[in-house]
């Protein structure tokens, strides 16, 4: 027994080493620390680590906080933020929910000490990606799966889906997912009032991190709220217990909400003013003032700023569902089928868990459902220029948990394992391309216009990333700092991919030959 525990701990330690190693070699960046004076230099922009406006917009607020201790942007930061710049009450502010910008401050400051401020900031996201992988593994084990199968599922979440590309760049997705997973992890175990307090805290933090979290975390909030009521059935009566402490745990949301209201007040002039009320500024005059679009320009679709006070519900349209759903699932530019087909095996796992009456299945299905439904109705399900379906990262996490369950159950089924293995390799190969190169993949709907502008055929799926790798356009920090001296970009890609695949093969071999039989599945 003692040996087993030791062995298990060693296994976890090795697993962490594996995840950290891959994240280290894939995290994007270049040496140096951008400041408001230097951040507009070309090496940080399109061809550098801040390649897209969501990264720029969030980092802009970080710079503003560190250098000016203000949420209002100065001229150089304003330039850096367009075309996703907010404008309200005569002030230029971030167009993104603020929490991520605050979270990366320590990473930036720590990195700056060593001359790697940007990488330090990005490492915070990678850290959350690591936590997510460990949480997935832990939740899968709590669902009754084999620990090795759980590790495979967790590793595939990170390296076999577009979550990989968003672990090495500056996006909110991994932090949002962390809040979801940590809440799920807390709810899957014993639901004491302290655990519920932390669930509410996570739910509260979700809002200032990314507004849609409020909907994606709704199932967790409902389950946490229902913990207040406990129903005990006996032969002749039903006893209803109202647990006041469980109800009081809701105070966990207070601190995050105070932060949220404080920020709104500081940035937009009122605690209850939301991002939807901001004018989005896409371009500015050279002197930094707003461009007033002529009516004729607007009619021709040339818009430098959008209207203020848009209705929040208008961002989600049930009419968009069909289009959004097909983009997220089967389209070549973002579809799960093209980018992470291995996740489909998760469906097998959830069927197994459902048949076994696993009590946590409804909550996980609800999280996945809320994620799919929400972003299918979103006006831009493709997520602008992006690698794969970035909005589906919570869905990938749920599917990965179920993959662990499926592998546990079918660990002796050789045909299943062979097919699974090959699809896993494909998924890893595709997503490593994205992680170490770029997220700058246009949505399919923009391709014709893009081809007209560039005068050449434009790719929009992962083949675009293969093109980047072939052309030596890697964004991985380790490659850009030292790797390029010793190998070509293609070799670098191959080494990373093969390393992940080999480690996974070891896991598979271990699962098949020595998989622990004492699991529920």
């Amino acid at each position: 027994m003692k040996n087993y525990k030791l062995f298990s701990r060693l296994g976890i330690a090795l697993f962490i080493v594996f995840i950290v190693s891959v994240l280290t070699v894939s995290i994007r960046g270049i040496p140096g620390t951008p400041t408001s004076e230097t951040v507009n230099e070309s090496q940080w922009g399109d061809e550098g680590p801040f390649e897209l406006s969501p990264e720029r917009g969030r980092f802009a607020l970080t710079l503003s906080l560190i250098e000016n201790q203000s949420v209002e942007f100065t001229h150089s930061i304003v330039q850096f933020s367009t075309p996703d710049l907010g404008y309200k009450n005569g002030k230029f502010v971030s167009l993104f929910a603020p929490l991520l910008s605050f979270l990366i401050v320590p990473g930036y400051l720590l990195g700056r000490l060593f001359g790697y401020g940007q990488v330090g900031a990005y490492a915070i996201i990678a850290l959350f990606a690591l936590f997510n992988t460990l949480l997935i593994r832990s939740i899968t084990i709590r669902m009754g799966a084999n620990p090795v199968a759980a590790s495979i599922g967790a590793a595939l979440f990170l390296f076999g889906t577009p979550a990989f590309a968003y672990a090495s760049s500056l996006y909110q997705h991994h932090v949002s997912l962390f809040l979801i997973l940590v809440s799920l992890w807390l709810l899957v175990g014993n639901r004491s009032w302290l655990r519920l307090f932390f669930v509410w805290l996570a739910i509260g933090l979700g809002l200032p991190l990314d507004y849609p979290n409020i909907i994606m975390m709704m199932p967790l909030a409902i389950v946490a709220a229902l913990e207040t009521i406990k129903i005990v059935t006996s032969n002749d009566k039903i006893v209803v217990q109202i647990r006041l402490l469980a109800g009081l745990a809701v105070v966990g949301v207070v601190a995050p909400l105070v932060f949220f209201f404080w920020y709104n007040n500081a940035a937009y002039g009122s605690p209850l003013t939301l991002l939807s009320s901001l004018k989005q500024v896409k371009a500015l005059n050279p002197d930094g003032t707003l461009i007033e679009d002529a009516q004729s320009d607007r009619a021709a679709g040339i818009v430098t700023s959008t209207a203020e006070n848009r209705v929040a519900t208008a961002f989600f349209q049930s009419r968009n569902f069909l289009r959004g759903f097909s983009i997220l699932t089967v389209s070549r530019d973002r579809g799960l089928l093209y980018f992470a087909p291995v996740m489909l095996f998760g469906i097998v796992g959830v069927i197994i868990l459902y048949k076994q009456k696993n009590p946590h299945v409804p909550l996980m299905v609800a999280i996945l459902g809320a994620n799919m439904v929400l972003y299918s109705m979103w006006g831009d399900p493709a997520g602008g220029w992006a690698f794969g379906g970035r909005y589906l990262i919570p869905t990938f996490a749920m599917l990965s948990i179920w993959i662990g369950a499926a592998l546990s159950y079918l660990r002796r089924n050789i045909p299943f394992l062979i097919v699974f293995l090959f699809v896993s390799f494909y998924s890893i190969a595709v997503n490593t391309l994205g992680a170490i190169s770029s997220n700058r993949n246009p949505p399919q709907s923009e391709i014709l216009a893009l081809e007209q502008a560039s005068g050449k055929p434009e790719l929009y799926s992962w083949d675009r990333n293969a093109q980047f790798v072939n052309a030596g356009k890697l964004k991985a920090f380790v490659y850009n700092d030292i790797g390029y001296k010793y190998m070509s970009s293609w070799d670098y890609y191959q080494y990373v991919t093969i390393f992940i695949a080999v480690i996974l093969c070891f896991h598979f071999a271990f699962l098949y030959t020595r998989g622990n039989k004492k699991t529920h599945l």
Partner: protein, 541 residues
């Protein structure tokens, strides 16, 4: 610690059971009351916002009903052949009243009653499948919480009446499969017969139902019994079609006039085909795709996905007798009919961005709503631990659908080809013809919406259905028509086709108004003394 922070109370199990029994007992009347309230409130809302009569066809339906009781030549012959007659016949008891006519309530009332009836039948259908109160009520909620359904139930369109008659027909058919009662079969035949007199989907359902009855009876009781059963069913179920053919023969001298005549859908489709707008004809994939879009836009995507899963669960549930499961395939009849109709070129449907730049007949996608509601109700019943997830996500989708007013039928009615903004031309007539003597010559086939919107009594209009008045006015317009409303130079407009060849027409009339949908011509004042302004041809055929 537990005592301080835990409040506790208990409920007696017997009391709970009696509460459950109470809910079971009163669920139906409660549901009925709720459906009536929703129906009335939604109608009032659409009456107030002016959308109730947005569909051009709604106004035409009301006019057809009105012509049966009022006009230069009232009578049953006014039912015409363009549309099947049941909706207009059912309007007759109320359409004589000007408020009922012009508010659209005479027609909407049918839709409202049908809405309530369909909701109740969905509930009963699910109960018959063994679904509990939650699943059964939820099925009704899926049907009711749909802006397209709510909108159509507030208009004088025929879709809700079709849904009600078809759903009751299928419910009775399934009941027959379960209990083998001849009464259920007769009921099924009766309601399917009614559906055949509303829209042609009903004809297809008759065909499908006959096939299902034949199949089941052959399997269980042999060919001879099957033959007898199908004849028994078909005699009543096809009675409406037989009457319709007879009607066409008696009135138009051709039993297939409705299908082949100049005002038939076929004639309209031929025009569309000539203009290159019937692109689904002969293209199965496009027909399927077009109808799927219409279905999804009308029912919402999440509901379609859950409905499809529900159908699979229902068909694979061995607890339900195989016959009942097979019979429930009839719920798909409208789906197959519409795809087939598009493929064969018998129907036209435009979805903006898919097969055109506008909407037209997008409302056809609503035909599967009762079926989807039944399948989802069943899924919720069977989903056990996942049922609250299904309900929660549906609530979420509905929140955004209602918050954003997502109703393709309203788009179809307001901005699509189905609408005509005839307010200018009807406004002109209202302003100049009210209180003045003289008839208005107009083609009802082309301009029923103008007749309706003018607010003038039907007896002021000479149209194709007025027999001798029409014949006289189109040969000698200056003797009969003070105003003529028609599309200049359009030979598809029967009035233009007739009067443009009258030699004196151009010299005796002046075009006094030009509008996008029609122009108005007025007789020169010097010819007014010779003008007939009274309905003197009442005795003529």
């Amino acid at each position: 610690m537990k005592n301080i922070f835990t409040l506790e109370f208990s409920i007696d199990n017997r009391r709970l059971q009696s509460m459950h029994g109470y809910i079971e007992r009163f669920a139906l009347p409660l549901l009925l009351g709720l459906l009536v309230a929703i129906s009335v409130l939604t109608f009032v809302q659409h009456l107030n916002n002016g959308l109730g009569l947005a569909y051009n066809d709604a106004r035409s339906h009301l006019d057809i009903g009105r012509r049966v009781v009022e006009g230069l030549k009232p009578g049953l012959a006014q039912l015409g052949s363009v549309w099947l007659p049941l909706p207009h016949l059912l309007m007759v008891p109320t359409i004589w009243n000007d408020f009922m006519w012009h508010s659209g309530l005479a027609g909407a009332l049918l839709s409202m009653v049908s809405f309530v009836a369909t909701g109740i039948v969905i509930y009963l259908f699910l109960k018959r499948l063994g679904v509990g109160v939650l699943g059964s009520v939820f099925g009704v909620v899926v049907f009711v919480a749909n802006i397209n359904v709510l909108y159509l139930q507030s208009t004088a369109m025929t879709e809700l009446l079709l849904l009600a008659t078809m759903t009751v027909g299928i419910y009775k058919l399934v009941s027959w499969h379960r209990d083998n009662s001849i009464i259920s079969l007769v009921h099924a035949a009766f309601f399917i017969m009614l559906s055949t007199l509303v829209r042609y989907e009903g004809w297809f359902l008759l065909f499908v139902a006959s096939g299902l009855i034949l199949f089941r009876t052959i399997r269980t009781r042999g060919y001879k019994t099957a033959e007898g059963t199908v004849i028994l069913f078909g005699t009543l179920a096809a009675f409406g079609i037989a009457l319709w053919l007879l009607w066409n023969l008696l009135i138009f001298k051709d039993p297939l006039y409705f299908a082949l005549g100049p005002f038939s859908a076929r004639a309209q489709q031929a025009q569309l085909e000539q203009a290159g707008n019937l692109i689904t004809k002969g293209n199965f994939w496009l027909s399927f795709q077009t109808y799927m879009y219409a279905l999804i836009f009308n029912s919402y995507m999440y509901q379609v996905i859950m409905g499809a899963i529900g159908a699979v669960v229902l068909w694979s549930d061995k607890k339900i007798p195989a016959g009942v499961r097979i019979a429930s395939t009839a719920l798909f009849a409208p789906f197959f009919f519409n795809i087939l109709a598009l493929y064969l070129g018998h129907s036209v449907l435009f979805i903006q961005g898919i097969n055109g730049d506008t909407w037209f007949n997008a409302r056809y996608g609503v035909m599967m709503m009762p079926s989807i509601a039944i399948f989802i109700g069943y899924l919720v019943h069977r989903a056990a631990t996942l049922r609250w997830v299904i309900i929660g996500l549906l609530t979420f989708v509905l929140f955004f659908a209602f918050a954003n007013g997502d109703a393709v039928t309203i788009d179809d009615a307001r901005v699509g080809s189905s609408q005509k903004n005839v307010s200018e031309v009807s406004g002109y007539l209202k302003e100049h013809a009210t209180g003045e003597k003289g008839f208005i010559l107009i083609s009802a086939a082309s301009h029923d919406a103008i007749i309706f919107s003018s607010g003038l009594p039907m007896k002021r209009f000479i149209h194709e259905g007025t027999g001798a008045y029409w014949e006289s006015a189109t040969t000698s317009p200056d003797r009969w028509a003070r105003w003529i409303v028609m599309r200049t130079n359009d030979v598809n407009d029967l009035t233009w086709k007739a009067v443009s060849v009258v030699p004196t027409f151009l010299e005796r009339y002046t075009r006094v108004a030009e509008y996008p949908f029609a122009d108005v011509y007025e007789l020169h004042p010097e010819w007014l003394p010779a003008l007939q302004t009274e309905p003197v041809l009442k005795q003529h055929k």
